[in-house]
């Protein structure tokens, strides 16, 4: 159903020359998979599909593009697009967003991803046309203090551990890392021309597979996601070593929401937390 509708919309857009390219999904080379594809010719739109394997965050292909783009966007993709628009990586006028309410994506074994289980924005927050009906949002229950109950369970449990236990877990997870940088490359908000780990004058970040360097890279990458991570799971899907990266990226998301009351990628006009400040921000950690 949705496949057909997406194809119709894409065909119309390309025929009317409203966009130069439509970014969507086509059938993957393996069974139970889908792969991103770029459609430029109206005759090729039949390649486009939509199923529960379309997990990739297509916003990753947007930064610095100059042409007009039609893009297929789920809830998390649309939030990443909002972040990119906020950061002037793409103009809103360049985009024709084909929004798709998403019921969660599955892995190869047809199991729902765990980040989809706690997703609170299944419907795209920004779109030009919506394919299908809006789905019911699964808002987690809230504590009286405003903290989410189920969403942050994993993080709050981890926070209670002793610092040596936390460090042990970090080391055991990150010692698997082979520094392939797939997490960085898959992330839609990691678009810097020169990443901090590639800086050479001076080379202040070690690029070896020494555990200390690995941890530095991951802490740096995670820190740079503050107020920008939409928890789309791109880094986790891309990781060949199955590192539990979300245990740490989610903490940043949580801090953004609890300290600065900012939820990523909902409104283009709201400034991200590091681009603004309040005079009465909490400073109980400062002497």
């Amino acid at each position: 159903m949705k496949t057909k509708k997406i194809q119709d919309i894409a065909r119309k857009l390309l025929k009317e020359k409203k966009v130069d390219v439509v970014i969507g999904f086509e059938k993957g080379t393996l069974p139970s998979s889908a792969t991103p594809c770029f459609i430029r010719n109206p005759d090729e739109v039949d390649r486009l599909i939509w199923n529960s394997f379309c997990g990739n965050n297509l916003a990753n292909y947007l930064p610095k593009r100059k042409d007009k783009i039609g893009i297929v966007a789920k809830g998390c993709d649309s939030r990443s697009i909002v972040v990119l628009i906020q950061e002037n990586q793409i103009k809103r006028e360049q985009l024709y967003i084909i929004g798709i309410p998403c019921d969660g994506m599955t892995d190869k074994n047809n199991v729902l991803h765990d980040y989809c289980l706690i997703c609170e924005h299944k419907n795209p927050v920004i779109y030009d046309v919506l394919v299908g009906e809006k789905v019911k949002e699964n808002k987690a229950q809230r504590h009286p203090e405003g903290l989410r109950d189920t969403k942050w369970q994993k993080i709050e449990d981890f926070e209670k551990k002793s610092s040596s236990d936390k460090w042990k877990y970090l080391e055991s997870e990150l010692s698997k890392c082979i520094r392939c940088n797939a997490c960085r490359n898959a992330c839609p908000t990691c678009y810097c021309k020169e990443c901090f780990i590639d800086q050479e004058k001076p080379r202040w970040v070690g690029t070896t597979n020494n555990l200390s360097d690995i941890i530095f890279f991951h802490l740096g990458r995670i820190f740079h996601q503050a107020g920008r991570c939409t928890d789309c799971g791109a880094c986790v899907r891309a990781c060949p070593m199955n590192i539990d990266l979300r245990q740490f990226t989610q903490k940043i998301t949580k801090d953004g929401e609890t300290l600065f009351d900012y939820e990523t990628g909902l409104d283009i006009d709201v400034k991200p937390p590091f681009a603004t400040f309040k005079e009465d921000d909490s400073e109980d950690f400062i002497k």
Binding site: G220, F223, F248
Partner: protein, 147 residues
């Protein structure tokens, strides 16, 4: 562990890196010196143009180099030479502080403070406090890059 290294461990003093903002905390440190105030000699100062110039990753980088403690200090909110630098810095510090504690760096390793140019006394106090806290923790082992 032979006798010599045991002795060395005993007298080992912590190394602390202090990132001080040029306009307030650095001048505060200067005032502490001019006023002949006593404070522990364990701190090495790096002068930064503004606390907003502090890339929070410098803190991690310092720990990676094997320092036992880090102090970041800037002007009081509202007193920034560049008007708003420390307000932005405060947000960054809040996030990096909570992230570092979350991954298991001890709370007492990394300190933040506001010290103005007239607060030589407070600067000496802060250094005393930080040195004491870091001494209690002992030498840093986490994150230190061993080659």
């Amino acid at each position: 562990m032979n006798k010599n290294s045991k002795f060395r461990a005993k007298i080992r003093q912590p190394k602390i890196i202090a990132f001080l903002c040029n306009w307030c905390s650095y001048a505060g440190a200067d005032l502490a010196g001019i006023s002949r105030l006593q404070y522990p000699p364990n701190v090495r100062v790096i002068r930064v143009p503004c606390s907003g110039r502090m890339n929070p990753l410098y803190i991690i980088r310092a720990l990676q180099h094997g320092v036992d403690g880090v102090l970041v200090s800037g002007c009081h909110p509202g007193d920034c030479h560049y008007i708003t630098g420390n307000y932005y810095a405060r947000r960054k510090f809040a996030i990096i502080n909570s992230l570092l504690q979350y991954v298991g760096i001890e709370k007492e390793r990394v300190h933040f403070s506001w010290v103005s140019a007239s607060e030589g006394g407070k600067f000496a106090e802060v250094i005393k406090q930080v040195t004491e806290d870091v001494k209690k923790l002992g030498p840093a082992k986490k994150l230190v890059k061993k080659i």
